[in-house]
Symmetry: C2
Subunit: 196 residues, 2 copies
Amino acid sequence: MPLFKGGNKDAIEKIMHDYPSRYVHYKKGDTIAMQGYVCRSLYILCEGSVYAKMISEEGKELTLDTLSAPDVLASSFIFSSEGIFPVTILANSDCNLWIVNKESILRIIEADKLVLRNYLTVISDHSMFLSKRLNEFALQTLSSRIISYIEQNGTIQNLQEAAFILGVARPSLSRAILQLVNQGVLKKENKGYILV
Amino acid sequence: MPLFKGGNKDAIEKIMHDYPSRYVHYKKGDTIAMQGYVCRSLYILCEGSVYAKMISEEGKELTLDTLSAPDVLASSFIFSSEGIFPVTILANSDCNLWIVNKESILRIIEADKLVLRNYLTVISDHSMFLSKRLNEFALQTLSSRIISYIEQNGTIQNLQEAAFILGVARPSLSRAILQLVNQGVLKKENKGYILV
DNA sequence: CATAATCGGTAACAAATGTTACACAGGGAG
DNA sequence: CTCCCTGTGTAACATTTGTTACCGATTATG
């Protein structure tokens, strides 16, 4: 678990025992947290993978991110002034989460300087991730976003899923990919597309 | 200064004296930090106001945010794994900044639990801000974004500036505003537009 | 094997936004 | 006052993306 890397194991376990926390199992497709609801705990993903989805008032939706164990969810939601989930978190597979009260996390990072540094890195990387996504959506063309996507994932295998992540309609994505193939930027390989 | 609110003044001042930091003046229009460059320090805005601008590879740009003293800049950039400015920061007016080394900030938040909590709130609120902006760009129509803008600022006075913040071309903004006025959602008042 | 379900390709059209260009109004500087 | 600068309104057209619909391929399922 990167968050606790280098931390004092005994001290962390003691705090975990002294303060409320729970270990929860979710089945594939379950809703782990709902956009708009209060966030009081840190969600430590121990097994499985989840994805975060954002929905607008008009009902349009976007898959923000997919996270796999070991990772930490809601690190920046619990300490924000509002304390509200800006996304809905869904189980991508069966998974196990350790749900830890905000106060417990505070005790741990107050007590352990290494965990504090790790936590600051986790929360800051989350900000940087959002900055990059914002850059993509606000400033880049669909073609650029497709290329970024493939650079990150190596390939586009599932067009529908990618369309959700890229925030466009599937036929629009299909059309844009066709153009990139014609331009010689992408090529088809097996069931997916890769950079030439 | 919200960051140090409730903190132990003497302890903070001692650390500030013991560790490197500098107090810098910038003139209106000066570049305070450049997108893509390494970020090693926290920028505490003591006087004046600044704005953060994001530029894509194609040269398209977007004004992300305007911040006024007292506030903190780059709170989440210094602790990220990359440690790179995702935006360019420019002086919106003459301003004074206190530039504090990353290590100094770490000492302070390690030493003072209240400042630690404040810092977590600052950094988390920045994440939430980015989430909202992302929601706007990825999911909302221009009309919705215009209304959000007016709800936040009370009015649109400067169409050019607003076009940069909303990430659209000025004539597009002008046209969209005209439609909202015709729909009875907005009305002209003095030099600007407000919600009806 | 037959069938249904899912996914991808594509076409036609609609809607939104960008681009370019030009005219006009107001304010400041000479 | 006149000139220049900045910001605005707006029109015409180009480009991008959304929407809807239909077809074909593959795969799971009985």
